[in-house]
């Protein structure tokens, strides 16, 4: 049997889901829409297995965000693969009235339903006494009081699931038909619906329901015109009617002691954390800690992963016969995989922090504090979290924009997030700064190289804000933006939940981004290992001749050979081809190859530089990459290739250009269209080109 969990946000619904299913969980996607579909299995007392579906938290069946829209779609579409046989409405006992609004809507869908009444302990503490049996009688539904965090009474809930009758027995809540009698009757008749409330909901939502055919939807539109149906006023009328019903029920079943309210602990914490001055100081301190940790804690596991892959590559080379397939495996597939997997530690650490900040309730305070500033540039308080996250990596940050309800705000956030310097740009900055910025201290304590690095991050933030402003003027809002948000009480984080979030995000990243990165790595491998016929043969025969072989040591010979082979490969040809376009920026064709290979992922830069400038691709030789680059001369003029001007121009290019296949893939996945990744690619690359041009000419 299939059981759906439905409830308001912050009711402990996800905790209950974790308790019911343990580790038997699966995160997938609802087809055609990027809303996580969390399902899991639960063993029932009668030995049957129940499939539990955790639907996104919502205050009402009328959706406000992308995530919420899935709830009604699953509940109303009998053909949906996860359409439930039973709904558990998770209700927060401390806020019964608002929580029951969603219950009354769900109950009217005429699907069997059970209430899991969570946080009874907190309700009792706050002085309200709920007569559960009386409430259960009045609603005609089983109510199981649970404490999800401690797993109390979960067995009783499992029993209730197992032995709940298969037909909907709950009492009707409000007279739904009265809200739009003819319309509801007509829709119900034509679409063969049992529940008048489903018909009414379809009238409100038909434009966004993907299970309705085009004809069905336009027929509903026609009927709405015919009976002059006004969606907003009908919703208002319905909501008031539902609250009237709830008030009558609660009057007889809940008693609240009217002792004067003491100041809650949450309120006292808020006085500090959202203080006019301390609020911001604490926030920036927390950010500082997060970034220190992302870089400090991930360094060791990242080098472990890199070493493991180097060991694997070595293994492949020693144990497999030399040949094209072995090269493809080691330089294409394994190299591509390591490019993906090396980011696991950073993603895991970032999401551990985000999950802790969200779980404790602090994140909604950050949103609360930052909203006004962010709104000025066309963003939203909720854009802060993805922007911070993108200092580590834009991919998970773009995934975390889903809770921004306003379409325009969300799009702008997605558009600017990849501008913020992520950890993949760090190696590029590090190499180039080491090359042209002297390692000296100014004022005796400020490291000049460190300042240059900080400057790059600063520039990226400024660019993000300016671009956001531009998009604010260009994009038309689809709906009125609003910011009505619950500020949950502060709680201790649930550590098992933190671990689960880390695991899930890493898994999504590896599977989704991994596919693309590996594919592109293979293509790049092909491009740099094959070339126009004839050219490569010439190079090969040149190095086989005894004359050349005697000039160099065998090691040198190999390096020069691979360097010239690269020049004659398709990648080299492309590098030469784009050279006229990049010369004004101060680059030569070799940098051109790095630019092209970097369009798969920026961190490829150092590796490509290493190959092109004939040094072995080895972490220990990173200084020699710098040396070789320093020695690189323009063959025509004899001047160094990497000057202050060309290096800063290159850094600016890497700061702004959209050189990340994973980001393009995730933007496509999140916006469901190629339009947005395309716009982003074009504007970022254009920005990068012109900014670099200006920087090069200013510094030249």
């Amino acid at each position: 049997m299939k059981v759906a969990l439905v409830g308001n946000p912050n009711t402990g619904k996800s905790t209950l889901f974790n308790v019911l299913t343990g580790l038997n969980q699966k995160v997938g996607n609802f087809p055609g829409i990027t809303v996580d579909k969390k399902t899991g299995t639960c063993k029932l007392p009668d030995k049957r297995n129940a499939l539990i579906i955790d639907l996104p938290g919502t205050y009402s069946l009328y959706p406000k965000s992308k995530d919420e829209s899935i709830v009604f779609e699953v509940l109303a579409d009998v053909k949906n693969p996860v359409h439930p046989d039973l709904i558990i409405v998770v209700v927060d006992a401390t806020n019964l009235k608002r929580n029951l609004l969603l219950y009354t809507q769900v109950a009217d869908l005429k699907i069997p339903v059970i209430i899991a009444l969570n946080m009874m302990d907190l309700a009792n503490k706050s002085g309200s006494v709920i007569d559960v049996d009386a409430l259960s009688d009045k609603l005609g539904v089983q109510i199981v009081p649970v404490t999800a965090r401690q797993g109390i009474n979960v067995d009783k809930l499992k029993e209730a699931i197992a032995f709940n009758p298969a037909i909907a027995l709950q009492k009707d809540t409000i007279e739904v038909s009265l809200l739009a009698p003819e319309l509801i009757h007509k829709i119900g008749e034509e679409l063969l619906l049992d529940s008048p409330y489903v018909a009414l909901q379809m009238a409100h939502q038909h434009e966004n329901l993907r299970f309705l055919t085009h004809d069905e939807s336009s027929r509903i539109e026609e009927l709405e015109q015919e009976f002059s149906f006004h969606s907003q006023s009908s919703k208002a009328e319905e909501t008031i009617a539902r609250y009237n019903y709830i008030n009558i029920i609660l009057a007889d079943t809940v008693t609240t002691s009217s002792e004067p309210k003491k100041e809650t602990p949450s309120n006292r914490i808020d006085k500090v954390l959202t203080h006019r001055i301390w609020g911001f100081v604490i926030f920036f301190f927390i950010l500082f800690i997060i970034f220190q940790s992302i870089f400090a804690w991930s360094a060791y596991p990242m080098s472990l992963i890199e070493n493991a892959f180097m060991w694997l590559t070595g293994l492949v080379h020693t144990h497999l016969p030399t040949g094209v397939l072995t090269d493809l495996l080691s330089d294409g597939i394994i190299a591509g995989l390591s490019g993906v997997l090396v980011f696991i530690p950073q993603i895991a650490i970032l999401f551990a922090f985000i999950s802790i900040l969200e779980d404790t309730g602090y994140m909604s305070r950050v949103t609360f504090m930052m909203d006004k500033v962010m709104r000025k540039v066309g963003l939203n308080g909720k854009s802060v979290v993805p922007m911070i996250g993108s200092l580590a990596c834009a991919v998970p940050s773009i995934m975390s924009t889903r809770n921004i309800e306003s379409w325009k705000d969300r799009m702008i956030t997605i558009m600017i997030v990849p501008l913020i310097s992520c950890s993949a740009r760090l190696p590029v900055y590090a190499v180039l700064i080491a090359l042209v910025v002297p390692d000296t201290k100014i004022f005796g304590f400020l490291n000049l190289q460190g300042l240059a690095l900080m400057g790059m991050y600063f520039i990226s933030f400024i660019a993000a804000i300016v671009v956001a402003l531009v998009f604010k003027l260009v994009l038309k809002a689809k709906e009125k933006g609003y910011f009505i948000m619950e500020l949950p009480v502060y709680r201790m984080p649930r550590w098992d939940n933190v671990l689960l979030t880390m695991y899930e995000k890493v898994k999504t990243f590896v599977l989704e981004a991994g596919k693309v990165i590996v594919a592109v790595s293979i293509v790049l491998w092909g491009l740099s290992n094959y070339g126009p016929p004839g050219k490569r043969a010439q190079v090969e025969s040149k190095y086989q001749s005894a004359e050349v072989a005697n000039t160099y040591t065998p090691e040198e010979l190999n390096l020069h050979r691979s360097s010239e082979l690269l020049e004659s490969s398709y990648a080299g040809v492309i590098g030469k081809f784009i050279e006229p376009a990049i010369v004004p920026l101060g680059y030569d064709w070799k940098i051109g190859i790095a630019l092209i290979t970097s369009f798969a992922a920026r961190e490829v830069f150092v590796g490509t530089m290493a190959t092109i400038y004939s040094v072995s691709n080895d972490e220990a030789h990173i200084s020699s990459v710098t040396d070789k680059m320093r020695d690189a001369r323009n063959p025509d003029t004899g001047l160094p290739v990497f000057t202050l001007a060309s290096s800063f121009s290159l850094m600016i290019f890497y700061a702004f250009a959209m050189q990340c296949i994973s980001t393009i893939a995730v933007v496509y996945r999140e916006t469901k269209s190629w339009r947005w990744p395309l716009i982003q690619f074009v504007y970022m690359t254009a920005l990068a080109y012109f900014a670099s041009l200006i920087v090069f000419n200013l510094l030249k």
């Binding site: 401390t94 806020n95 009235k97 609250y243 308080g381 609003y482 910011f483 009505i484 949950p488």
Partner: protein, 73 residues
């Protein structure tokens, strides 16, 4: 009197709404005519505000708060 005119620490009772679409969202979140609203605090930059309504805390922008009309006390 509108909700946006209250200072932190002040409270009022909701009378009606001036924006139909907003009112549906506000009511779904528990802001109903007849409910008592207490303004807990302003955000550090003066907007949005945090209010307590029907036993929990909600944050909304000044512009949204100005669509909530309070009863005369």
């Amino acid at each position: 009197m509108k909700l946006s005119q209250l200072r932190p620490g002040q409270s009022g009772i909701i009378k009606e709404f001036t924006d139909l679409e907003m009112s549906v969202k506000l009511m779904e979140m528990g802001c109903l005519p007849g409910e008592l609203i207490l303004v807990d605090r302003y955000a550090p930059l003066g907007d949005p505000i945090a209010i307590t309504v029907s036993g929990y805390q909600l944050s909304l922008r000044m512009q949204e708060a100005s669509t909530i009309v309070l009863q005369h006390l």
